[in-house]
């Protein structure tokens, strides 16, 4: 029977409808030497979508340093992997699920978590921790509250059920994200080095085994219609493209797949993410240089009369694709059966290097396998520095009127502590199980999460640790994408260093607008360049990542948001540090230098409603020395607490140390600066540490060898934060501002809504 191709009139029209450009369609015709079938066209359109092919970003991403001594697996697999010592390795990756979440926040966020966790256990690692990086519009808008509450519930609902702790993250609320929220999920997995598994299909005659859920019409075209286009007023119509998650099924998949790998029953393992079976199978085939012959009719379906193309591109969740030898098939299926999971042979590996799809006897697609994953056209998009930058960067915050009295500055400090971008995040992380697996050493709320390297499931617990942080201040990136991306890296590294961890590797999630707009692409290119330079300066590789373009709605892009997820290592996990002030009488020391840098600051936004100026300067050499100083000082037990200065500056950092420790402090603030700058300047490369009074000299000596300014600025004690003539606030006032903000904004909003309903 011959393959039924589309008509020459219909094919290009359908191609365009599916998101391919006409010249891309022509390339498909050239590759095949004929007009494609409907199944082929769907498969190419998905695999060549921005989401799957990285066609607008791949060339820029080559700037990233990706190798290093510790790297076991760099970019190009389901996740990157680094060694952490004693034969242990961690796999990690961050990924976006922005567009599905903007339509249906609970399921969008939940399946985002599920997808990234599958990428991790696909590598042979047990998922041990999740983080998330979230952006919404401001919470005075009902829609934003709905998105925020729904996304948090979805992340919790999925992760809690799996029994994988959600240990950290970050969230910002900015108008720029109002039409396009960001949901970036990061997962970290732990394995023994020898368990590293790759999704490389091999061995003609081996069988392709589909494990897990049935396949339905959910999520068809998600990668092309949701992830690779801008949003418009029809976005609501795209709800059927959002997948629905089943965390119970995923929990069973984790256990079954790890058991299959432990028993050495698999040749390869891959997960079905974007573009479903098409991407997982074509990537396995192209990595292994083999062909595949798939019978779509064999795929267990949950809906009637599904067409082959629907089966091949469905994004139904909780499915894994494994390659097994015929001899081990029975044993592999028995393990799936034990876990109550469906497993079905849906095809075989061939030596033809072709991806053949049948529907029973009928051949519905026959393509060179590697062309799906590798032959998408790569673009060099046009770039242009955005016109808005000159005006914004030229703005000098000192031309504004600023509070000067102690009363006014104290009130401003409390306003900043209550700002949704600074306030306590406990309302969020108390909805997440952050302790299951009993490896969480530092719980959320500090600079970085610290985890013990251990797998209680296997009865193996080590003394080593990892520290993890995810960071990105989109405002800085908006004002200067090159510097902003470097600050995102520097802050993540500083957070990890404040916990005692040495930066080892990063993953990233690069969220931008439409790359076909030269001004947007310029911000992307600058961010990648900035991040690459930061990584190079620190000798820290990028081992995995994700690009999310088309984050726009109604024509306006989000702030450039290159989120960095950084993993650091601790040789001895008990040698970690937290930000809480620990003991009265300890000296408070500021490492680093305070400059008058209020451009892009939270103060400027809260006090003046402005996002303007130049972001703070970042010196990567100084940053690296500071981090090395911190790690040494924490390891040798010189410092009792450490907390970096970020949004809200020194005053907010000190207040957070006070609140966490339940103690006040008396501080002599930096001189030679206007009060607002001394308190709220967001100068980079600064950390507040405390030391026992007789340890200050040792710290001073250590700081001198790291060329880091080290000044004693005060002492821990009392129940007030006193900053000379600049601020004087009580612990209770700080707590009242800092602790209840998010709950109040969401809960208060509910009251408001019911009042509105009552009136209606």
């Amino acid at each position: 029977m011959t393959l039924e191709t589309l008509s020459t009139e219909l094919a290009p029209k359908l191609a365009v409808e599916l998101g391919l450009k006409l010249d891309e369609y022509e390339k498909v015709v050239t590759i095949l030497g004929r007009v494609p079938s409907v199944t082929e066209l769907y498969m190419y359109s998905l695999m060549w979508s921005e989401h799957c092919s990285y066609k607008h970003s791949r060339k820029a991403l080559r700037m990233f340093p990706t190798s290093g001594e510790a790297v076991l697996q760099g970019p190009g697999e389901n996740a990157g992997v680094i060694r952490v010592g004693d034969g242990w390795a961690v796999a990690f990756k961050m990924e976006s699920h922005n567009h599905p979440s903007a339509i249906e926040p609970y399921q969008g966020a939940a399946t985002g978590v599920g997808g990234i966790i599958r990428d991790i256990f696909t590598m042979g690692a047990r998922p041990i921790a999740s983080l998330n990086s979230l952006r919404f519009g401001t919470l005075d808008k009902p829609r934003q509250r709905y998105l925020f509450e729904g996304a948090v519930a979805g992340i919790g609902g999925y992760g809690n059920c799996l029994g994988v702790p959600t240990v950290g993250g970050e969230v910002y609320f900015e108008e720029a994200y109002e039409g396009n929220c960001l949901i970036n999920a990061m997962s970290i997995g732990l394995m023994r080095e020898e368990n590293l598994t790759r999704a490389v299909g091999s061995g003609p005659g081996n069988l392709v085994l589909l494990i897990g859920s049935t396949t339905g019409r959910d999520g068809i075209g998600g990668a092309s219609t949701l992830a690779s286009q801008e949003f418009d007023e029809k976005a609501e119509d795209k709800r059927p493209s959002v997948q629905v998650g089943d965390p119970f099924e995923e929990k069973l998949l984790i256990e079954a797949c790890l058991e299959l790998l432990d028993e050495s029953l698999l040749v390869a393992l891959g997960d079905c993410g974007a573009a479903g079976l098409t991407s997982s199978i074509s990537e396995m085939a192209s990595r292994g240089g083999v062909g595949v012959d798939i019978d779509a009719a064999a795929v267990p379906q949950r809906e009637d009369a599904m067409k082959a193309f629907e089966i091949m591109v469905s994004e139904s969740q909780e499915r894994m694709v494994a390659v097994v030898t015929p001899e081990k098939l029975e044993a592999a299926m028995a393990i799936c059966d034990k876990w109550g999971l469906r497993s079905t042979v849906i095809g075989t590996i061939t030596d033809t290097e072709r991806f053949v799809v049948r529907m029973g006897e009928e051949v519905v697609a026959d393509m060179p396998a590697a062309t799906l994953a590798h032959d998408a056209p790569l673009y060099d998009p046009a770039m242009e520095r955005p016109a808005y930058l000159d005006e914004l960067q030229a703005f000098d915050p000192m031309t504004l009127e600023h509070p000067e009295t102690r009363e006014a500055l104290s009130a401003m400090l409390l306003d900043l502590l209550a700002s949704p971008n600074i306030c306590s995040r406990h309302w969020i992380w108390e909805q997440y199980d952050h302790q299951v697996m009993v490896n969480t050493v530092v719980v959320p709320g500090c600079d970085a999460a610290v985890l013990r390297v251990g797998d209680t499931g296997r009865g193996e617990v080590s003394g080593r640790g990892i520290a993890v942080s995810s960071d990105c201040n989109g405002r800085y990136c908006y004002l200067d994408p090159y510097a902003g991306a470097q600050i995102a890296f520097a802050e993540a590294a500083r957070n990890v260093a404040c916990s005692g961890g040495r930066a080892a590797a990063i993953t990233d999630c690069l969220n931008f607008g439409n790359p076909e707009k030269p001004e947007v692409y310029w911000t992307f290119h600058e961010s990648v360049r900035g991040l690459s330079d930061a990584c190079t300066a620190f000798g820290v590789p990028v081992i995995s990542g994700n690009v999310s373009f088309y984050n726009e709605s109604f024509g306006s892009p989000i702030y450039p948001t290159p989120t960095v997820g950084l993993v650091g290592l601790l040789d001895h996990v008990e040698q970690h540090c937290t930000m809480a002030f620990k003991r009265d009488g300890d000296a408070v020391v500021l490492l680093g230098r305070t400059r008058n840098e209020l451009g892009g600051s939270e103060y400027l936004k809260v006090a003046h409603g402005m996002v303007a100026g130049r972001p703070p300067k970042v010196d990567l050499v100084d940053e690296r020395l500071l981090d090395e100083l911190l790690v040494t000082a924490i390891r040798t037990g010189i410092v009792r607490s450490a907390h970096d200065c970020s949004e809200g500056g020194l005053a907010v950092a000190l207040a957070e140390c006070c609140i966490a420790g339940g103690r006040g402090a008396t501080i002599d603030p930096p001189g030679g600066l206007p009060g607002v700058a001394a308190l709220f300047s967001e100068s980079q490369g600064r950390v507040v540490v405390t030391v026992a009074a007789d340890h200050f000299d040792a710290l001073k000596t250590l700081a001198a060898t790291h060329a880091t300014p080290c000044v004693k600025i005060g002492m821990v004690g009392g129940d007030r934060l006193r900053m000379g003539g600049l601020a004087d606030v009580s612990l209770d006032e700080m707590r009242a501002a800092y602790e209840p903000t998010l709950e109040r904004l969401v809960h208060g909003a509910e009251t408001l809504q019911s009042e509105e309903l009552g009136e209606g």
């Binding site: 302790q435 009993v438 050493v441 209680t456």
Partner: protein, 232 residues
């Protein structure tokens, strides 16, 4: 002394319980939910998690697992059985303990370390003096204990209330000290005989100083010690 920790599909705290038990110097082994032979174990633990995804109702499916008939027989013979979190929910669904656990009053999942007061009770599982206050994490979406007034009276009269949520100083506030809205601040109960104990908090998470602190160690050690005595 050997603890058997039941592993249902969707359990996710079983490895933490085994780790805690072994950390305290006892033996532990996993029991697959499909097993029907639990001989060789001196005490049975139903761990936390989301058995069968907690679909339908928490614990509603797990109670029909083949192993549960054996667990019920073991309990009726006086064997020590403890259910933690989802395990507590399963014990109520299996009618080994009275009452039920509803959704938290705030309709949000809560993961937080809370204060708990040990009550004067018939519970064979715990030898801590009444009035002891411990700090142990809770981690659940459905921990809002409820029962009818007669049952509550019986629980009170029979010393079946083992643990109550309280303030850090051991007192209870008028509006209730339970973050989940539980009736009478109930965090843990036992059966009349005292050999079946269900509680929402997770003592297994706080037995190791590196992760979470040691406040639960004494608590879990007291459980383990009593289990040894009851079993022997």
């Amino acid at each position: 002394m050997r603890f058997g920790v039941v592993r249902f599909p969707g359990s996710n705290c079983e490895q933490d319980v085994v780790h805690a038990v072994e950390h305290l110097g006892h033996d532990a082994g996993y029991i697959w939910h499909g097993d029907t032979d639990i001989s060789g174990y001196d005490a049975i633990v139903l761990p936390g998690g989301f058995s069968y995804g907690d679909y339908i109702r928490c614990g509603a499916v797990a109670r029909f697992s083949p192993v549960m008939a054996e667990v019920i027989r073991f309990a009726e013979a006086g064997g020590p059985v403890i259910g933690i979190c989802n395990g507590f929910q399963i014990l109520t669904e299996a009618h080994l303990l009275p009452g039920a656990l509803l959704r938290n009053v705030g309709l949000k999942f809560i993961c937080r370390t809370v204060s708990l007061r040990v009550e004067e009770s018939a519970c064979e599982w715990l030898d801590l003096p009444a009035g002891t206050v411990v700090r142990i994490p809770i981690n659940h979406n459905e921990g809002n204990y409820i029962c009818d007034p007669d049952t509550l009276e019986r629980l009170r009269a029979g010393g079946q209330i083992v643990l109550r949520y309280c303030e850090p100083d051991g007192s209870r506030t008028e509006g209730g000290s339970a973050p989940n809205g539980a009736l009478d601040d109930i965090a843990g109960i036992c059966n009349e005989r005292g050999n079946v104990f269900g509680l929402m908090p997770h003592p297994e998470r706080v037995v190791d100083p590196v992760s979470g602190g040691t406040d639960g160690a004494a608590f879990f050690a007291a459980i383990a010690k009593r289990a040894v005595e009851v079993a022997s």
